[in-house]
Structures are given as C-alpha cells and as structure tokens.
Symmetry: C2
Subunit: 360 residues, 2 copies
Amino acid sequence: MIIGVLGGGQLGRMLAMAALPLGVRTRFLDTSPEAPAAAVGELVVGDAADPAVMARFVRGLSLVTYEFENFSADIVEAAQAHVPVYPPATALRTGQDRLREKTLFADLGINVPAFAPADSEEELTRALARIGTPCVVKTRRMGYDGKGQAVVRTPEDARALWARLGGVPLLVEAFVPFTSEVSIIGVRSLQGEVRTYPLVNNVHVGGILRQSLCPAPGVPAGVEETARAHMSAVLERLEYVGVLAIEFFEVSGRLLANEMAPRVHNSGHWTIEGAHTSQFENHVRAVCGMPLGDTGARGASMMLNIIGEPVDAARRLQMGARVHVHDYGKEPRAGRKVGHLTIVADTPGEIEPVYAPVRG
Amino acid sequence: MIIGVLGGGQLGRMLAMAALPLGVRTRFLDTSPEAPAAAVGELVVGDAADPAVMARFVRGLSLVTYEFENFSADIVEAAQAHVPVYPPATALRTGQDRLREKTLFADLGINVPAFAPADSEEELTRALARIGTPCVVKTRRMGYDGKGQAVVRTPEDARALWARLGGVPLLVEAFVPFTSEVSIIGVRSLQGEVRTYPLVNNVHVGGILRQSLCPAPGVPAGVEETARAHMSAVLERLEYVGVLAIEFFEVSGRLLANEMAPRVHNSGHWTIEGAHTSQFENHVRAVCGMPLGDTGARGASMMLNIIGEPVDAARRLQMGARVHVHDYGKEPRAGRKVGHLTIVADTPGEIEPVYAPVRG
C-alpha cells in the first residue's frame, strides 16, 4: 500500500518512519526538493494546485492525508477526485478557520474564551467593545506558531493591527489569564474506533511550542477526563479519521478550548518514546483502516523543541541515557524547528522541566 | 554524517531508521536492487569484491559497518583502505569461524560445549571418538539459521555429512541437552563505554529463531549477571565497537556459549519497543562515537518472527493494542524471515508465549 501525504516536513518524515514497519509506503507532495520526508518516502516536488502535479502525485495511491493544514480546500477536492482523503475536508476547513473552530467547540458544549469575528474595521471596533481589552486578535486563517496574532490593549492597537494585516478577516478573543496550557491528541479510525492520549502540559515562548510534559503537572483531578470527552465529541462530530490535536487553556482547573489541528501535532512528539503507540503510527493505522494501538503513556516524558540552532546529537545525548534525539535534517534558521528531544523517566519526579509548566 | 553498511537486509533497514533521527544518513552495499534497506538509505548495488563498486560505495562515508558477517575479510580490508570499519576485523574473523569463536570463549573462561576441529575425514573420525555421540557437526564458516550443521549419531552419519558438505573444515561439538536457549546483546562505543541488555530466552525451530522473551523465564538468579560479565569480557578482549550478540545454552543454570554474531541480532529486535534504546540505535551511537543509550527493559516483551508467510499488518494488529508489526518489505518464501511482531506488557505474566520457552 502507498499513501500520499500533502506536505513533506518533519511531521511527514515521522509519519513515513511509522508507516514503513506496517508495510505502508509513503509519497509526499511538497514545493521543496529539500523536504525532510524525502529521506524516507518518495517525493513529488511541485505545486499541489497544478492539476498535472496532482495527477502525478495521486497515481497508484490508496489514499491521501496531510501533515499541515494551511492549504486550499480546493486541493483536497482535487485529490478526492482520485482517492479518499483523510482527515475529512470538513475537519480541514474547521481547523483552518478560527471562527468555525470556536463555533464547533461552543456547539459541542466545550468552553471557549469569549470570541467575535471582525470582517471590517467597524466590526473590529465593535468586537473590541464587546470582548473588552486586553484581548487577542487573530487572523481567521493561516496562523501558526504565533504568527498572525497579537495582544490588543487599546482601540489604536486594533486599528494599527487591522492596517498591518491588510484587512483580512479576524477573530477577537478574550485574553485568558491561564494557569497552564494543555493539549490532547486523539485518534479515530476508518472503522470509528476512538482512542485518546493523556493530557500534556505545553509551554510556548514567542508563540512557538518549547516544551511538552506528560503527565501534565498541576492539573486538578477530572480535568484530563473532561479533555478526553471533549476530544471524543469533536472526533465523532467531524466523523474524523486520523489524529487530531486540541489545545486548551487551563484556568484553575477549567478548560477553555483554544484551537485544534487536524493532523499529527508537535505536542504529541513525546508519544514516539513515551507512549505505547506513537501519534504517527496511530495516524497511519487510522487512515489505513488498521486497529489502533494503545495510547497509554510509558512512564513520564518531556519533549523539548530544538529551534534555530544545530541539533548536534552527540552533544545532546550527553544529557542522559534516556534522552532521545530527533534531527529533522533541516538547516537551522532563526525560529525554525530543526529537531526535538524526548526525555523519558519512570516517574514525573525524575524529570526536571526546562520551562516552568505552571504560572506561579 | 553518512555511514556505510555492508548488506542491505532488514537489519540494515532497522539500522537506517535508528540512524536518521540522530542526523546520521546511511548508504548500503548489496547485490540486490530489492534490498529492504533501500526504503530508508541510499543503495549501491554491486559486488563488494569489485574495487570499482567499493570505491563508489565508500565515497564521502565517515565509516563502514555491516549487518551480516558472511563476507570475506578482504572486503573489510578494502573498505579500511578508505575509512574506519567497525566492528573491528578481528571480531568479524572470530564471528565467521566457529573454531576461533569457541577458542576465544574458552580463553576468557567462558564455558563452552566440548569441541574439536576436523579438517579431514580422519580428523572427523577422531573428533567423533573424542567428543562422543550424539554430537553436532558444523561447518566452521558461513553457517546461519541452522544451515551448515547437523546432529551426528553414528560414524556413518559423519562420513555422509563429510561428503555432503564437500570436505570443508568442520567443528565437532558435544550435543548439549539444554534447559533453555538464551542470548545477550551488548554494545561498546568508540570511547570504550560498555552496556549490556537483559538476557532473553530464545526458541528455535528447524534452526531458525521463532521467539524471544524478555525477561528470560526460568533462569536461576545470577545467570544474567554471568552472561553480562561474559559479554563485557568479549567486548573488551576484541576492543569491540558496535553491537555484539552471544547465544548460550542454559543447562540447569549453567551457561555454555554457543556462538556470537558481530552485529545487531534477531534476538535483539524486541529492544525497539521493549528497551529504552534499541540495539539498532545503540549500534549507530557506538560506531559514531556518541554516548550510549539506556539498555534497560521497559516491561516485558515477546518477539515473534514472521517466516515464509505474508505479514499482513492489519490482521496481526488485531491480536492486541500492544502488538507492534515490523514488515521488512520482502516477498514471502519458505523459510524466509519477512517480518516480526513485538508484544509488550507491564509484567511477564501478561505475556503468553507461543512456543514453550523452557524444556519440560
């Protein structure tokens, strides 16, 4: 079986490595001939919007999936004319649009920060008045790693932001003074089997994930069960197939859904060594219609991103005998994720976080 | 860094998959364009004895290692003219020759079955008289998966075997009525760091490994420590670099060394999911001069080879949520290893062996 993956970054590479032992080969479509996934899978270099490229890409594939969500839904439709695409287009459209996302969460009874869309400067002014300041203003589409969003404190900030972002549709959200940031990864298979991973604690700096901890420290009892229930509800509603990530703000034990990603997610990288089955393997199993693997944790884990500096495995491994290095084979550039480390231990007490996981 | 690997079978593929996250690329030399390792690494197809092929293979490599040991030591010397080769040539020569192997074990005070070389039909007759029957007669070189050996009960058997094997040098060994078969994997790095994995129990059928269990059931206290000490002694004596496997017969708690393999080994496949660091990753770390990873077990594991039948991951995964499938991407043929399963559990009691691990 050969499966196609839109995007050939590190997520694609880790999918390819998980797929191979299952007898599943991978083909990636990426605009760059340097795509990291090419180290394991076939690579088609080109623009997915070009019908000739798409035709070349889908030839002989059993299905198509994706490892990033910032591409036009037209591309999914083009692929779908040839082969099934998982996760489904509805999930992609929801994950691409912060308004749809928040609306879905609210519909399912999942708490979210107060939010209001703003498609014009007047709407922005009105939304600001309704939500109050400080608030967070985000582009509805194409945001990632903290890009396309800013904290707004005054109406002047808002007007300047409107001009800077070029008048694209925005979403205004209440600023949440969170206790911690947590996320959950879930997976639903073609057959409808659902499994969820344990809740993890995340620390972002400058909008970029730096550290994930499993189990999530300082989270009151019952919160993890709530997050698992929310994940299952979203998976079922979207008739989802594959891995989904949802990020929450945790405010004194109350969860507010922040965003979802319809793909394998950086906050699930710890699962390679820290869970019985990695998010990458379970994504492949799910889209290929195979039984899902155990999502339980194996001890405690800490994932640390390596950003903008050389990976240098030999040096990192000196940190300890249970340190695992993942070098994505990318040239370091400022702000670029080039690798990650996962440190595993039998108990959470043996792991010393690099970043404080909970606000003091 | 790019490392070269002589041989491109499943062991090579698993080495390549372990190397990639460490930022280490792999290039394989194999006579077959269908070599499984080509799914992850570069592949040079050709005869290693051809100087032009060797020159093409070694270009730009940092070092050469190997994933099988049945090739001429001349090839190692040819490679060594260009780049370092690990494990060292002495280890390869020892692993290739059952007489050298047994002599090394005996020199280090490691118990072995009584043995005698036989380079002629008369020597065979004398060896038989000295060792007694039944005994096991093996070719000194090029044996694997039970090939090149037979149980001999009478002098007539021995004469027939001599004729059948074509007069190659043989080793006669006492037949060992073992309680169980066990093996140990050890690793020594370029810097001389040594780590050993837990002892595992192996079941062979028709000379081919079928099942490995970690921990090894029914082994009296102290036996594992003895095996670890033997492994360390061999690693040090050979100034070894990389992963080494030693197989023992266990006779009521006494270990008799049977053979060694100067490479990653089938009885160490369980380490991918069952140990903190796999044998493949530790081999790469060792030859690249990186710190070694923790060789401790994570719970209990059972490895089952898939031999001569389709792997069919979807079906195998129905066995349970902690079953892991490794499909080598090979066409099934009678007696051919095409994949393996590893089943992990928190405790040995949760694992039900397919083959009885200890003789009743």
